[in-house]
Amino acid sequence: MGLGLWGLICHPGALRKILAFNVLGSGVFLLFGAIARRGGGALSAAGTGADSDPVPQALAITGLVVAFAATAIAVALLKRLAEAAGRSTLEGPEPPAH
């Protein structure tokens, strides 16, 4: 998570920022998973065979799907920015209005 956060802030290229954002996101989901595992002992005692709290798992799956959708839009925006303004960083002159 820390590496993702650092990359998000420090990399000038926007694609590397998107990558770093994804790393950050997967770190957060992993945190969810660790908390889920801790709460899971009760289910295996109840005999349904699972070993981990399913509610954070469901939240993590939902988060993964939404993160993919957000990455898709971010990449599309970045490609348009590159076409319109000739650069792939966030600083710099504004692209001409289309």
């Binding site: 998570m1 990399h11 590397r16 998107i18 709460g39 993590a60 959708a69 792939s88 960083t89």
Partner: protein, 323 residues
């Protein structure tokens, strides 16, 4: 016990290593390749955390489809890369940011390690309420019965994402076909793969959705496999992506979410609450929702990768109304 510990330690070291590689790689392409490997190791870690559904989703969506998206972007943005390294924070500032990030991570780690023991959890509640839903996989039960509203919102959010990607098209390209996956060369092993693999992929996807009721699996994983097969066929040039203004395509995209919403609204009359399932009908309704959603979500995921429409407008596909 110790071999499990060694495996866990190895996985953690590998993941940290890959994360450092992604952050420090010289070219975006190298970073993306590292990201795909990172996703796969993450999937293994999820299995170790006893969350196999999440592992499947991470491997398919997080590593596979996202990696594909980012590889395409890295290739498209390669000409602009040298200008990137010029701007950016200087050494001292980066060091300071690194220290602050490390402090954030240390804080979060402390919070997790200091959680109360035994940990508060909803697992027993889920175990009690699982039998009426008729499914044996608790994650599917949570996703489609207990927290169905979250899943509904999640699938519905994919459609505006697609609209967002499409809206970035230039005006003349609006009624064309998505242009990000133009095949570079036809023939050769890629075409053979695209001809042989999809039938197996479709079988695997159907199996994942069907088995998701009782074992790890489910519609997002199945839909991702379907979308991957479609993208493979598109990249190999065996089929062209559909025109974005075509009515049948738009029907397929919205059919899944609409069915989900319809069942939810019907639940208001039949079972007293939005998205409540009437007694005894839970499993067939869940299966119907999963099947419809698999197809819609697969179409949306494939189109999200295919990008915005470009190119010549197709005269046969002009619809009268402005989109």
């Amino acid at each position: 016990m110790t071999s499990a510990l060694v495996l866990d330690a190895a996985l953690v070291l590998l993941v940290l290593d890959l994360a450092i590689w992604i952050t420090a790689a010289r070219s975006a392409y190298g970073a993306v390749v590292g990201f795909v490997a990172y996703g796969l190791v993450m999937a293994l870690i999820w299995v170790r955390l006893a969350a196999v559904d999440v592992a499947l989703t991470e491997a398919a969506l997080g590593s596979g489809l996202t990696g594909l998206l980012l590889l395409g972007a890295a290739a498209r943005l390669a000409p602009y890369e040298s200008a990137e390294t010029a701007s950016g924070p200087g050494r001292a500032l980066r060091l300071l940011i690194g220290l602050l990030c490390a402090a954030v991570v240390a804080g979060l780690a402390a919070v997790v390690l200091l959680l109360p023991d035994p940990a508060p959890t909803l697992a027993p509640k889920v175990a009690e309420n699982l039998p009426p839903t008729g499914v044996l996989n608790p994650v599917t039960g949570v996703l489609l019965a207990h927290r169905a509203i979250d899943t509904l919102l999640e699938t519905v959010v994919l459609v505006p994402a697609l609209i967002g990607v499409w809206s970035l098209a230039l005006d003349p390209g609006w009624s064309g076909r998505p242009g990000s996956l133009t095949p570079l060369r036809t023939g050769g092993p890629l075409t053979l793969l695209a001809q042989v693999l999809p039938p197996f992929g479709i079988l695997v996807a159907i199996h994942l959705v069907w088995v998701g009721a009782d074992d790890p699996g489910g519609k997002f994983q199945g839909a991702t496999v379907l979308a991957a097969m479609w993208v493979l066929v598109l990249v190999a040039g065996l089929r062209r992506p559909p025109c974005v203004t075509s009515r049948p395509l738009r029907l397929v995209l919205v059919f899944g979410p609409l069915l989900f919403i319809a069942i939810g609204v019907a639940g208001i009359w039949l079972a007293d609450a939005f998205l409540a399932y009437p007694e005894g009908y839970a499993k067939p309704l869940i299966l119907a929702i999963e099947a419809a959603l698999t197809i819609s979500v697969a179409a949306v995921l494939g189109l999200l990768i295919a990008g915005q429409p470009t190119g010549e407008p197709q005269s046969g596909h002009r619809s009268g109304a402005r989109p």
